[in-house]
Amino acid sequence: MTRRPMGYDYERLKVLIVDDNRFMHELLKTILRSFGIKDVSSCYDGSDAITELKHFHADIIITDLEIQLLDGLDFVRLLRTADDSPNRFVPVIMLTGHTEFTHVAAARDVGITEFLAKPVSARRMYERLNAVIEHPRDFVRTTSYAGPDRRRRQDPSYPGPFPRATDRTTVQ
């Protein structure tokens, strides 16, 4: 017997869309509203989004990777690292047609939470929203990275203390 998938009531979530394509705003808003999300704001570039976040307390940001002016990667980097960041811990879903490994790795390394390849469908958007909700991650801040813990799985059998050779050099 297969288990019926579970759903959430998203009504109280606030979502910010960052994309330079008006059409994408319409599409994403339509999908999000059909999931019950009423509070959706949208911006056309990362710079506007930083300003918007000062008064719009987004629970989740959905941003395109390639946007004009301040692009998606620079936007997330700034959001995660700037001293005056309005919301450095907010989960970010990066949406893009660039699915090559280099782009996915670059997005991961600036601190995105989830990656969603275009074309967007309602089901895949729902799955990413659920992933953000069901798997909250620790936030890691180092000299070279700020963002959600990039390790998706914890291995309790790992003898440690740290998984990377470079970690050992910083132990006090």
């Binding site: 019926r4 979530l13 509203r33 390639e66 890691v140 801040r141 910083t170």
Partner: protein, 161 residues
């Protein structure tokens, strides 16, 4: 034991507190959402037509300027990339594939020659065809044939250069 150069903040954003406890998913939720999104299709097609017109102007610029303007090529790439990104969401995956092929050709290309201009033209014609005939899905048997022709064109160009 601590790490001097790193800091770990335990789950600073736990949105489970903002959503009500999970319940069995309404099986119609995706159909309803996709149906809502489908109401945007006429608007989408009109935006594609506008984008293709803009790309046509860039193509004309390339023709007159000998294909060597990197900004025009970048604008063409961007137009194709935008159309590709949205096409699948509106059940025009063939259009997405055609524009994806053009993106593949234009990516990181600082200049193109007369042969390149022809390649761009052919892709644009194919895109216009899909839009004007409202070819949804992969276009039946003709769709893969069209894509094979485009792939052949790019293959021949790669051999030449």
């Amino acid at each position: 034991m601590t790490r001097s150069a790193s800091e770990i903040i335990p789950c600073p954003t736990d949105l489970r507190t903002k959503v009500r406890p999970p319940r069995p998913l309404d099986p119609t939720i995706f159909e309803r959402a996709d149906a809502e999104a489908a109401t945007l299709t006429p608007d989408y097609l009109s935006s594609v037509s506008n984008s293709l017109e803009g790309m046509g102007r860039n193509l004309a610029r390339l023709r007159s300027g000998g294909g060597g303007d990197p900004d025009t090529l970048k604008a063409l790439f961007r137009g194709a990339h935008d159309i590709k990104g949205h096409a699948g969401s509106f059940n025009y995956p063939l259009l997405g594939e055609v524009m994806g092929s053009l993106c593949h050709y234009l990516r990181d290309r600082p200049a193109i020659d007369a042969r390149g201009v022809k390649i761009v033209e052919t892709h644009m014609r194919a895109a216009h065809l899909v839009v004007s005939r409202d070819i949804k899905g992969m276009g039946g048997a003709k769709g893969p044939e069209l894509l094979a022709e485009l792939a052949q064109l790019l293959g021949a160009d790669a051999q030449h250069t």
